[in-house]
């Protein structure tokens, strides 16, 4: 009789050990620059998270292996799995922020986590880098001085997408009377570009049909039956996760021309087209970096990372969209550090203040992206006090069944329109939060 009780007591003991386990802290190594990486390699959205995490880690490995770090300062990357869930994301942020000699920059990789991290990062003085996702209005610099939307936002990319559509139709005046469908993930993410779309619909006289698809979007027949009846001229797709391939597949099977479907920046990854198989051939999407692996940096990656067996994950995702996004996000972070070192002293890890300074003036001209071996892959940026996004360059790519092909050069968004929207939204936020926007003069 006593033995099972003892066993049971042992389990309670196990619980106690788990409770105490938190008081560990990693040993700081002073000469390394610490980089936390919040990734989602599992969970419902893992197919897009894995590629990003691999690219992010491989770029850091490349810098350490090829250059011996930034001016000799090695980067220590530590991953933490969020599974795209907000509470795990916050836990990761709190767990990693004081590791090493302190995190200076974080990429939360989810809008929900970004919102939770922004107030914390402001207290801690850590830079938040959100590529495309997160708060679009953070592109207006004066309100949130530590949050950066480099290189683009949903709003910017949507204006550029419409520019592309207008070009294809032979000019803005030809949009008059056209039918454009916005098929979106029924959540705030999907509704985000609606403001831009409605503005343009009014200005240029096309009819905008807003079609909500309920997440996760495993069953979309009825939505696309309706869209087919509209006979749209163009379809903008803002899905996420499994919704994208299902949408493309369903649309194609209903006879909708996928080459007149343009995915948003998170309907532009390989996991959107691969599961859709043959039906996705011709599908287009907007993205903020060059597709494919035809860049000089890939030669270095092969020589210093892949061939040395240092590739992150399974090492078979290089050249995918998500992987390239990981590369350029790490690229911006490393360049910011490099500029911080150039200003504040080379050969030592930079502090949070120095990193923040570097991001606030981050300037990477086209020539520099070529030096990095990422010409055409990484969009050039120029951050100012007022503009935390840069020029917001995007391009349109098309899926040929095997890989993405770039079909346009960098497209400029309608800066005038989006900057007005950023400012209005950011000022409203500042008022709610009681933040005094800083002056940029």
């Amino acid at each position: 009789m006593t033995t099972p009780i003892l066993k049971k007591a042992a389990f309670i003991g196990l619980g106690a050990v788990i409770g105490l386990g938190s008081i560990f802290a990693a040993k700081a190594q002073a000469e390394e620059q610490y980089l936390p990486s919040l990734v989602y390699r599992t969970g419902p959205f893992a197919p897009s998270g894995i590629g990003f995490a691999d690219g992010f880690a491989d770029y850091v490995t490349l810098i350490n292996e090829r250059d011996g770090g930034i001016n000799g300062v090695k980067i220590r990357l530590e991953e933490c799995e969020t599974a795209y869930s907000n509470d795990r994301g916050v836990e990761c942020y709190e767990r990693l922020k004081d590791r090493g000699n302190g995190a200076t920059v974080v990429a939360p990789l989810s809008t929900g986590i970004t919102y939770a991290v922004i107030p914390r990062s402001r207290r801690d003085g850590i830079v938040v880098s959100t590529m495309g996702y997160g708060r679009a209005d953070a592109a207006y610099g004066p309100v949130l001085d530590n949050v950066f939307m480099v290189p683009t936002t949903y709003w910017s990319s949507m204006t550029a997408t419409l520019q592309y559509i207008a070009d294809q139709e032979g000019g803005w005046e030809n949009l008059q009377g056209k039918d454009i469908v916005h098929a979106y993930h029924d959540s705030a993410y999907g509704r985000e570009p609606l403001g831009v779309l409605r503005h343009y619909a009014e200005e240029y006289g096309f009819t905008l049909h807003e079609m909500a698809i309920s997440p996760p979007g495993v069953e979309q027949r009825s939505v696309w039956t309706q869209i087919r009846r509209i006979q749209p001229d163009w379809v903008s797709l803002y899905g996420w996760g499994v919704m994208n391939p299902t949408a493309i597949r369903t649309a194609a099977s209903m006879g909708i021309d996928v080459s007149r479907m343009i995915g948003g920046i998170y309907a532009a990854q390989d996991d959107a087209v691969e599961p859709a198989g043959r039906s996705a051939v011709g599908y287009k999407a907007v993205t903020f970096h060059g597709p494919g692996a035809d860049y000089p940096i890939y030669d270095d990656l092969k020589q210093y990372v892949y061939d040395r067996g240092l590739a992150a994950g399974d090492g078979d995702l290089s050249g995918t969209i998500a992987y390239n996004r990981g590369l350029i996000n790490a690229g911006y972070i490393v360049e910011a550090w490099r500029q911080a070192q150039a200003e504040h002293g080379e050969g030592r890890p930079v502090t949070r203040e120095e990193t923040l300074w570097a991001w606030q003036q981050l300037t990477i001209p086209e020539s520099r992206t070529e030096e990095l071996g990422m010409g055409g892959l990484m969009p050039p940026v120029e951050v100012t006090c007022e503009n935390h996004e840069g020029p917001g360059l995007v391009l349109i790519q098309q899926w040929n069944g095997e890989s993405w092909e770039q079909v346009t050069d960098w497209l400029e968004p309608n800066r005038e329109l989006v900057e007005g929207m950023y400012k209005a939204s950011a000022e409203r936020y500042a008022q709610e939060e009681g933040i005094e926007p800083r002056s940029c003069d």
Partner: protein, 352 residues
């Protein structure tokens, strides 16, 4: 020896009906509360307070709420996530659209959640068991859908909104320690409340319904009023937990985040902790909050060269297996283990 009631004589009915009749229990609970108030904030690291203790306290509150419904009244609900979201969004909208003080907002939002709970509790009058469990999923999916309508997040372009700062009777709740104290105070008050509710005639009626509803009806308990009261009280607790989750822990609100897996997590807590036990809620919450994090960090302590992804897969597998394991070892939860240990300690070291 250690745990013995001999010598403690109850001289009045009042003493016999005390919430904790045994002196050892009184000392233990009082000690735990004092420890949580006076010692923990000074020894726990910032990380532990922020990412382990705060979610633990808040989930404990949600688990107490659900346990009132499932453990005491026998109505299975899978809508917890939805009700937490209702509480959080009600509080956020009240804070946005009215000038009411924060404590009033908390209570009003709790009441709104209670009302929602009653509404979705109505089918319980006809439906039982798993059929009811699945119908509560209607609440889960419908409420999340509803709260994603733009009005509820005040037309925020991302749909994620920042929680307002909290001012309780002039106390600006800002630092981690403040947030910890606020959660702790609310939890202690509400746990005592729950403990007393289940000892009252209401709680006894719930248990009668749980054990056999037809029999309970025959001895004069009105099933409709009793079940709906359970839904209301339970939802009130869960709603408050939702507010704390959004306002104190995450600092942001997003309807999608209160998904079906939140509901499962809270249900796990009460099953692993022990159905029909307030203590079990705390044990279960500790298990569900801490074990995944523990499993996630343990390979790096041991220096195992596993990738983040592999660690997570193993974590999912072990978490699932642990649930099965606990159910096999003790289907009545950790609270039951605790009471078995207490029984043993009564006699120890002379069991014969």
């Amino acid at each position: 020896m250690i745990y013995r009631e001999s010598g403690q004589f109850k001289k009045t009915y009042h003493a016999d009906q005390a919430i904790l009749p045994l002196r050892q229990d009184q000392i233990f609970v009082l000690g735990a509360i004092l420890f949580a108030f006076l010692v923990v904030p000074f020894v726990a690291s910032n990380y532990a307070m922020n990412s382990l203790l705060l979610p633990f306290l808040i989930y404990s509150l949600a688990a107490i709420g659900l346990n009132l419904l499932v453990g005491y009244c026998g109505q299975i609900s899978l809508g917890t996530g939805g009700f937490m979201a209702v509480g959080a969004f009600a509080a956020w909208n009240l804070a946005l659209r009215t000038e009411l003080p924060m404590p009033v907002i908390f209570i009003l939002a709790g009441l709104i959640t209670a009302g929602t709970g009653v509404l979705f509790g109505l089918p319980a009058l006809r439906i039982k068991g798993f059929y009811l469990a699945v119908t509560t999923l209607a609440a889960q999916f419908f409420l999340i859908w509803l709260l994603q309508r733009p009005w509820f997040n005040n037309y925020s372009p991302t749909g994620v909104i920042s929680a307002p700062s909290i001012n309780m009777f002039g106390w600006q709740v800002d630092s981690v320690t403040d947030r910890y104290y606020l959660a702790l105070i609310i939890l202690v008050i509400m746990a005592l409340l729950a403990k007393n509710i289940v000892r009252s005639s209401t709680g006894r009626k719930w248990m009668a319904i749980r054990d056999m509803d037809v029999a309970a009806e025959i001895i004069g308990i009105r099933p409709m009023a009793t079940k709906l009261k359970a839904f209301a009280v339970s939802s009130f607790f869960i709603g408050i937990a939702g507010i704390l989750w959004a306002f104190l822990y995450l600092g942001q609100l997003e309807a999608e985040a209160f998904n079906i897996y939140t509901s499962f997590d809270v249900l796990f807590m009460i099953i692993i902790g022990g159905l029909g036990s307030i203590l079990g809620c705390f044990l279960g919450a500790a298990f569900v909050v801490l074990v995944p994090i523990f499993l996630n960090v343990v390979p790096s302590w041991l220096g195992l060269p596993l990738g983040t992804a592999m660690i997570s897969y193993i974590e999912i597998f072990i978490f699932g297996s642990l649930i099965i394991f606990f159910l096999i070892v003790e289907p009545h939860g950790m609270a039951r283990l605790w009471s078995i240990i207490k029984q043993k300690l009564r006699l120890w070291p002379f069991p014969y």
